[in-house]
Symmetry: C2
Amino acid sequence: MGGGPTHETLLFIFQEPEPTPLTNKLRAQFPHITLIYHQLSRPTPGKLMGGIPYAFDKIPDDLWSRTTILVTLGTLPPDPKLAPNLKLIHLLSAGVDHFTKHPIFTDTDIPITTVSGIHGPAISEWVLMTALNLAKNYNVMHDNQKAHRWDSKSTGLMRRSDWQGKTVGIAGYGSIGRQVARVFNAMGSNVHAYTSSARSTAESRRDTGYVIPGTGDPEGKLPSAWYSGTDKTGLHTFLGSGLDVLVVCVPLTDSTRGLLGREEMDVLFRASLEKAKGRDVGGSGVEEGKLPDGEGCILVNIARGAVIQTDALIAALKEGKLQGAALDVTDPEPLPEDSELWDLPNAIVTPHVSGLFSGYLERGLDVLVENLRRRERGEKLVNEINRKKGYRSAET
Amino acid sequence: MGGGPTHETLLFIFQEPEPTPLTNKLRAQFPHITLIYHQLSRPTPGKLMGGIPYAFDKIPDDLWSRTTILVTLGTLPPDPKLAPNLKLIHLLSAGVDHFTKHPIFTDTDIPITTVSGIHGPAISEWVLMTALNLAKNYNVMHDNQKAHRWDSKSTGLMRRSDWQGKTVGIAGYGSIGRQVARVFNAMGSNVHAYTSSARSTAESRRDTGYVIPGTGDPEGKLPSAWYSGTDKTGLHTFLGSGLDVLVVCVPLTDSTRGLLGREEMDVLFRASLEKAKGRDVGGSGVEEGKLPDGEGCILVNIARGAVIQTDALIAALKEGKLQGAALDVTDPEPLPEDSELWDLPNAIVTPHVSGLFSGYLERGLDVLVENLRRRERGEKLVNEINRKKGYRSAET
């Protein structure tokens, strides 16, 4: 410890002018680090590497060679030998799919960290907003407002319950799912989690990624039930557990592609019917296999469109097997102009915007600060890429 | 205690057929109570008493005379002498404004309880839904969907922050305000409370009314700041505390009528400007007194329309002093067809529906059960009307 931490050179590459309130704060927090800001003159097409353009032509060799910490959206040293002192790469993105063929990824073991976890609040708010809009018939209210119509009956709210005691199912219990759980829990709803691997111990239920202080469910204590299993049985047990909302937060992998099809919509539907019977909202067709207004599961997808089979989803929405669907992601994207989804009255479609928010850079640097502190203390880094998996395993 | 509780006769008067799942549950929970259900054949106009019609012509005298507990929306014994054994009246409404001139109210001290507190979840969800819709430009997304347009830029979400670290001001910290606080707190926002009387002790911060288990803020621990005072200074200090949302939950009284006028809108506006400067979202007109897109306070009114001066509100919305307004109540109601409010792009107007939800009766009876248990234990009743005040004092 004598002499304090060794001197470091942090190279911060970004396409905007230097965000001095943020960089000066970093400089003040870490006096032993020399922060060099390099503004890319433009998103350089550069050479293609691993399928996407890397802007590396602007970085002088001597800068690469001095750098010990690299902070960047996607500018990497084209050859790892150029940056022999590099000890940490902090990517200002959540995923690393585009970098897995880069020699830094394949030929070195330099720790690479991401900003996974910083989108939880924005995305959970989008989930909440759209689920509430569907459950409370907001679009009807909006149309009435446009028509200057004061009409409380058309909202149907007298027949729609609040979220107290409802059940929200969360498929994929990572940073986003956990923040969704936190807010629904505050609204009085039960949380059912679903993950591919079983989480039978307290340790396995923890969020191992970066957690914005005061958000999410770091210990995994909010779910009243936790389902798992990559086979149909595990999935269907979860889907059949009486979900009023199902929030899809799983990453798109070979095993999640097309995860939710006709069969799964039917499992959701049957569970909703049972639930409606149990709530004694009879006299409204439940016995004949029809869900009353305001009943049925609301499906929310903020993961990837291809996790859901679009045809099956459209059919379930048209047949009233689901109460509604809120989709920030579609398959394909952009959603074709002639897709039926656009016009379904019980569907909300938005153009992959749930994760957008201002202050992204600031929060992305919070993760870096956390890791610089952890390095000083000799602790395990947060959000470090597992080179074999390519994504943080805690997400599923 | 020997012999158990004495026998009681509970008369349950309602206009619907007997909700047997609920009444039979009550019978099972309280075997010493004989529950008699009386369905009103129609909302009887009957005689006018205290300005509203009472349906009392249907209740036989011998039923009144046996009754010890009365559960009703508004059917009271026309003369207290008809019901000499009456020891508790549970009103299935939250307010008692309409009953304050009835002889049961003026000439007896029979405890009257209400269902105040059961609307918290539904109303807080409406608050959340509309605040999020305004903050995230949902109406723009909805219009894009109608036009089959996949357009992420028009949402402006890249320039809008999530709710992490934002501040929500809650004027009137009763059951509704507390549940609003709970949900915003889960979203990572700070809570500033405002009440007419100071709440400097832990005891004074408690919610003294009925609290649905697992909701609200029973101990009053969520606010990071608590403002009070019925004078302008107290109010303006609260309004100037940097609120990103202001939720109005105060009852309409002589002192809250017109509470928020031009001066108050200006206090909110100046605080928003200061906040935008502090967030360094400069270069966008902040210096010249203009708020950038996505900045400024969102005003939410679920109390009564007349708490806000409508002209001042419209002016503030048009001048960009507020980011937006969500109004479930207006002055007057219904909102006249030619009101400017209907067409303002940053206003959401709904027809006094935020408190509607199914399951109202079930939850209203939960309050009764709580009070029957309290009577058995000899404890103070919850939600008992203070005949002098006419409303529960904890609401403000």
